[in-house]
């Protein structure tokens, strides 16, 4: 099987992650922070170790400003809903995922307005100047994906962050497609809130996510409950991370995420990035030679994450995805990829397209196999 759906989740994990899951299932399933017995302390230590690793990985100044969530959607909801107030205004791009679009849309009922900045119709990219031009006095949040989940398009995150810092507007970066392959530093990129999944590029398990908070950034919690701290008080504790982490944490998932971070640190982010960029370039070059195949988004692999959107003329993308899987053993995702405005931006709505996305464990052989499969489908409809 050739798995090219890393943008949805990383199917292949490093052996050390599988080993850590097995070990964690056997030794870390006590409740962290909910007791003084040794298994609970061990679970608490494992959670803390991953928190420290994540803080170092993303340049988070204080370890407790790394918040564990269930996934990137959970992180984005906390960031978006927690940072706005009635009468406020949000700026976002047309390349966002529904995990941004839907919370923003739902906030309309609370009197929170928004402005969508449309990406370039060819690349999908926006500029910091475009984002700044639509700021209003009541703008309380700027949201931007680091790399689009459809076309892979890189956004100028550091420039947008600098602009937001200059205009004193909080900046939320959705790093769902970039975390684990591209350097992200909260301070250097002026990121106030960083949301990402634990199960994609960070190579952890489904059911894990992160929200990293910059200094002084204090979204309103969306849930209250037990934290294992200040238990005599009926108010939610103000101290981080407890303020946002009510309920039992996914200890096994968090421990596995720590193993994923270890693997990435050992491999080196630059090595991972170069590998994925090379695979992406190979795929782009191969697709460009196939008759009837249209590729969307930036032309150069260096201008996008390892995510490629294309269509085969005369073939519905869902049929293409089905045939790639059933006839050629190639796993891809078709349709709108939960990003309807992104597809409107690059002209692939309403049908969407076929998406191939690579992770660090994909190989050149995977890409060549996928290209052979697309060639066969293309030939079947062009002849």
């Amino acid at each position: 099987m050739i798995y090219l759906d890393a943008a949805a989740t990383s199917y292949q994990k490093p052996p050390s992650v599988y080993e850590r899951v097995n070990e964690a299932m056997r030794t870390l399933c006590a409740n962290p922070g909910r007791g003084g017995h040794r298994p609970s302390l061990d679970a608490g230590r494992a959670v803390y170790e991953t928190r420290e690793k994540a803080a170092a990985f993303f340049g988070v100044e204080e370890t407790e400003r790394v918040i564990f969530t269930s996934n990137a959607t959970d992180s984005l909801n906390l960031a978006i809903q927690g940072m706005v107030k009635p009468g406020g205004h949000i700026v976002l791009t047309s390349m966002e995922h529904n995990s941004v679009l839907r919370p923003v849309k739902a906030l309309e009922r609370l009197g929170v307005s928004h402005t969508v900045v449309w990406g370039d119709p060819h690349t999908g990219a926006v500029t910091a100047e475009q984002m700044e031009a639509v700021l209003r006095p009541e703008t309380c949040l700027v949201v931007c994906t680091h790399a689009a989940n459809t076309t892979g398009t890189f956004m100028p995150a550091a420039e947008i962050g600098a602009m937001c810092r200059r205009r004193a507007v909080p900046f939320l970066l959705d790093a769902s497609q970039s975390a684990g392959a591209y350097p992200i530093h909260m301070g250097e990129m002026h990121i106030d809130l960083l949301a990402c999944p634990g199960h994609k590029g960070l190579l952890g398990l489904p059911g894990t996510g992160l929200l990293c908070l910059g200094p002084g950034v204090d979204p309103t919690p969306l849930k209250q409950g037990g934290t294992g701290s200040l238990s005599a008080h009926l108010e939610q504790p103000a101290l981080l991370p407890d303020r946002y982490e009510s309920g039992t944490l996914n200890t096994v998932g968090i421990a596995a995420l720590g193993a994923g971070l270890d693997w990435l640190n050992a491999r080196g982010l630059e090595t991972v990035r170069r590998h994925e960029e090379a695979l992406c370039a190979r795929l782009l070059a191969g697709l460009a030679e196939l008759p009837g195949v249209s590729v969307y988004g930036p032309e150069k692999a260096s201008d996008r994450a390892a995510v490629v959107l294309f269509n085969i003329r005369g073939m519905d993308p869902s049929e293409a995805a089905l045939r790639l899987d059933r006839e050629h053993d190639v796993c891809v995702r078709s349709g709108l990829h939960c990003a309807p405005l992104a597809h409107q931006t690059v002209g692939t709505a309403p049908e969407g397209g076929v998406r191939m996305s690579m992770g660090p464990l994909n190989t050149e052989k995977d890409i060549d196999g996928a290209l052979d499969a697309v060639r066969a489908l293309s030939m079947s409809v062009q002849n």
Binding site: G44, Y48, T63, S229, S231, L239
Partner: protein, 85 residues
């Protein structure tokens, strides 16, 4: 007994990791009831001069915490920093 009480598990773990790094002998214990009104975790100092080690360690870290002495007469607050009940 000399112990350092924290208000979140994360800070307790941070404290333990820092103690290990500095070679300070500590044991993680449930915070004694009646001290912090909490079910959090504390670090008990186990070295030959626990009070001095506790005071030195308290001065070296930055997170909210409270240093206590606990004997037959009850708990005595020796030093504290930041939020506490």
């Amino acid at each position: 007994m000399i112990f350092l009480s924290f208000y979140t598990t994360t800070h307790s773990m941070k404290g333990e990791a820092e103690a290990k790094k500095r070679g300070v002998a500590v044991t993680m214990i449930p915070t004694p009831r009646g001290v912090a009104g909490s079910c959090s975790l504390s670090l008990r100092f186990d070295g030959p001069d626990p009070e001095q080690e506790g005071r030195d360690f308290f001065a070296a870290i930055t997170v909210p915490c409270t240093l206590f002495r606990l004997d037959e007469e009850g708990p005595e607050r020796l030093a504290d920093r930041g939020e506490h009940p």
